[in-house]
Amino acid sequence: MSLVRYLCKRVYHSIPTFIGALLFMFILVRVLPGDPARLIAGPEALEQDVERIREQLGLNKPLHEQFVDYVVTLIRGDLGKSIKFRTPVINEVLARLPYTVALAFVAEAIAIAVALPLGIISALRPNSKLTYVTSVLSLLGASAPTFWVALMFIYIFSVNLRILPSSGADSPRHIILPAATLSLLLMGNLTRITRSSVIEALNSNHILTAIAKGLRERAILMRHVLKNSMIPIVTLMGLQIGSLLGGAIITETVYAWPGIGSLLIDSIFFRDYTLIQGIILFIVLAFIVINIVVDVIYAFIDPRIRDLLWRTG
């Protein structure tokens, strides 16, 4: 099938991006000042102990040898062992992954559920009160610091009202506050993009045609306006999910949500080179996959793009 061939082509083209990102990351984490062996042992540790740790981790080897070691193990499908946890990196990442995926998608779902209707309504009725309220709220949501919003939510819903748990990830109830916090960030942009692309679609000629030929408003909206305004919305959703899969560092940290983001920040503080590399590798992978998925969705939404992407190719 042409779709399959298209996917193969896309995957093939992603390989240089992937390798480039890995190399860049490998060098970057090592350029950062800081010595993992000293950080593991602690400042009060004896020098002989620190030196031994350095040897055991292979950190006393020259940089190019370390890179060769890394690539060789990577080719064997091994991400190496975490410097801090002494366990395979893949285990650490996989243990945290479900939490990040859950948080990302629930947050995005909440954002879509709120932002799409609001965006459409405010495009259709630009002067209504709801539109004003929406634009103010979406601005607030996008600009309030996440850290502050998260703590406010905890104080309101956990400490004062006592209806939701303050932190952790023990039940579906635990996801509500972090997902709501994150979705506030996403909603603003999503509402604005929906509104502007709906307005743009409304102003195009074929809508005029549709009105002229007497289609019902509802049909025009569903069949012509929404479909034509979907591309930028889907693009934004893709980007949002892609970056959320990289872990929402602040939200995860404040809510003690054990996802990729809090793992990444920990591993950076410990200069856990192998773990940082493993997480970044995963994030790069997630971005590449999401991008391909978004392109495929385009093609399903818009036949013109489908022609462009694989029918003609």
Partner: protein, 548 residues
């Protein structure tokens, strides 16, 4: 413009499908997390770290409170009894593993897994008489062979033991009898017993055989609690060991909940989600103190905070360094910036350390500071760079700013250089020639409360960077000699005398701006009783805790 009737429905279907897929994926992923309280699921519970003794998953049933929930800031990084480097990890695992000896509330060494011990006259041979009634969580028995196996693993160079040097110059271990074991040192090592109480956790021979020189991932100790579940990034659950050899623990379960953000730990305590919280934001001290539902716990830590002065330029002159000490109002810093969460330390080590000797304080006196500076030939002051970490010590940045402000009042211009912790340590380790700063704000918190560990690492000339982290590059041959004698002398009153002399020299030469010993800010719910704060001020034990 192509009009295709089929596409409308298809698009709608795809969009709905996408949302459904999102919902399903999200639903599924939540499900893989333990939806029922602490159900053990394959994705979240790392099976290697769960002991095989797990009989049933812990449940949170009933209203009788038999679980204490403790909020901590960091996750465990390892459970290997011989490779722990973080105090918090020691604290959690000390409920499962035990040590041969222990320290009491006054800091004296007391027997624990051994009934008693003897030290040879030359201080090089320790004979331990192992307790006879102790069983490990795996059912095996503690005896001299087990003790030897633990020492041997600690000394084995193929095993990763990050703190190996902390047990001193170990030579060999010999089993004399089923319950008698002799430990030989190459040199006398004064803090050997205290180090044993801090560093050497004892695990069973079976575990040591199973894991060999690989990292141990199974927690088998002799302690009052058994290690049940470790959900990475989330929690560690310990359950009562009903066959414990000592006083039976009262609470059935201790649950350590990992909450990285200090404000969230406080919120979790206020919301009743946890019963005890470590390391809270000092800004909230008054609020907790004023709330009858909670008890503030404010132990003095093992960590002394100071500004080390690198002996170059004006700072070579001891008068200048003394002037710096007179110029900074330490009491004001403690009261106004640290919310009282520190105590003034008139010696280069915390007051509860063995060997502490109180010196007459450098009382805040800017006029005297100016006079000393003028005497040294700097009536108009000079310019220095002060490097400090951020987010590492309580209010570290604010303290550095206060020091800057005080020094500017006596004419010394201070430029601050702020660094994140890893970069800061890298900078600290550079040799003298490569250092581009003159002063550094640092904390020093040894695991063992003894003058040897507090002073040797900071004032022995061999510990100057890049070899060690003696931040002031202090070099005094008399102090070197006293510190060496203090390290190898077994007689306590002689040690006290050596350290007194060393402290007097250091205090008068003032290689540091001597600041304070930090206190911790922990809090518990008022109903939680009888937990014990360790002498080091860092660890809290719940062996005997209960709810009122």
């Amino acid at each position: 413009m192509r009009i295709n009737k089929g596409v409308t429905t298809k698009t709608a279907a795809i969009l709905i499908a996408a949302i459904v897929v999102i919902a399903v994926i999200a639903g599924l992923t939540i499900f893989t997390g333990p939806t029922k309280p602490t159900a053990t699921t394959p994705t979240t519970t790392q099976s290697p770290t769960t002991t095989p003794t797990v009989t049933s998953p812990p449940t949170q049933t009933g209203t009788t409170k038999d679980t204490v929930k403790v909020a901590i800031g960091v996750d465990l990084d390892t459970v290997d009894p011989h490779d722990i480097t973080t105090t918090m990890v020691f604290n959690v695992l000390r409920h499962c593993y035990e040590t041969l000896v222990w320290v009491d509330e006054k800091g004296s060494v007391i027997p624990w897994l051994v009934e008693r011990w003897e030290v040879s006259a030359d201080g090089k041979v320790y004979t331990f008489y192992v307790r006879k009634d102790v069983k490990f969580h795996d059912g095996t028995e503690l005896n001299a062979d087990v003790v030897k196996a633990n020492f041997d693993r600690w000394m084995d160079p193929t095993v990763k033991v990050s703190q190996r040097g902390q047990l001193g110059p170990l030579s060999k271990v010999e089993v004399v009898d089923k319950y008698i074991v002799k430990v030989y040192l190459r040199e006398p090592f004064a803090v050997f017993l205290k180090s044993l109480s801090t560093y050497l956790f004892i695990t069973s021979s079976k575990v040591i055989e199973t894991f060999g020189n690989k990292s141990i991932t199974e927690v088998v100790g002799t302690g009052p609690y058994k290690f049940m579940v470790w959900e990475k990034g989330k929690r560690v659950v310990l359950e009562r060991n009903d066959y414990y050899w000592g006083d039976k623990p009262i609470l059935k379960r201790v649950e350590w909940v990992i909450v990285p953000e200090a404000s969230t730990r406080l919120a979790a305590l206020l919301a009743g989600d946890v019963d005890f919280a470590f390391n809270l934001p000092p800004t909230d001290l008054e609020r907790v103190k004023g709330d009858p539902r909670f008890t503030a716990v404010l132990p003095v830590s093992n960590r002394i905070i100071f500004v080390a002065m690198i002996p170059r330029g004006p700072l070579v002159d001891p008068r200048v360094r003394q002037a710096m000490n007179y110029a900074v109002d330490v009491d004001a810093i403690i009261n106004k910036i640290l919310y009282g969460l520190a105590i003034r330390t008139n010696a280069p080590l915390p007051p509860h350390f063995f060997g502490y000797h109180e010196m007459p304080p450098y009382t805040y006196d800017p006029e005297k500071a100016k006079k000393l500076l003028a005497e040294a030939g700097y009536p108009n002051g000079f310019k220095v760079v002060l490097m400090h970490p951020t987010g590492r010590y309580m209010q570290d940045k604010q303290v550095a700013e206060a020091v800057q402000a005080y020094l500017s009042k006596v004419g010394i211009t201070v430029e601050l250089r702020t660094m994140d912790w890893p970069s800061f340590v890298a900078e600290l380790r550079k040799p003298l020639e490569e250092k581009t700063y003159n002063m550094v704000l640092l904390g020093w918190g040894p695991g063992v409360a003894d003058a040897h560990l507090a002073l040797h690492g900071q004032f022995h000339s061999a510990q100057a960077p890049p070899r060690g982290l003696a931040a002031a590059h202090y070099n005094n041959s008399e102090v070197d000699k006293l510190l060496e004698m203090g390290m190898s002398e077994v007689n306590e009153s002689k040690r006290v005398e050596y350290y007194r002399r060393a402290i007097e020299i250091i205090w008068n030469e003032a290689p540091w701006i001597f600041l304070y010993t930090q206190k911790w800010f922990y809090a518990s719910s008022a109903s939680l009783q009888n937990f014990r704060v360790n002498i080091d001020g860092e660890q809290v034990f719940f062996h005997k805790a209960y709810f009122k």
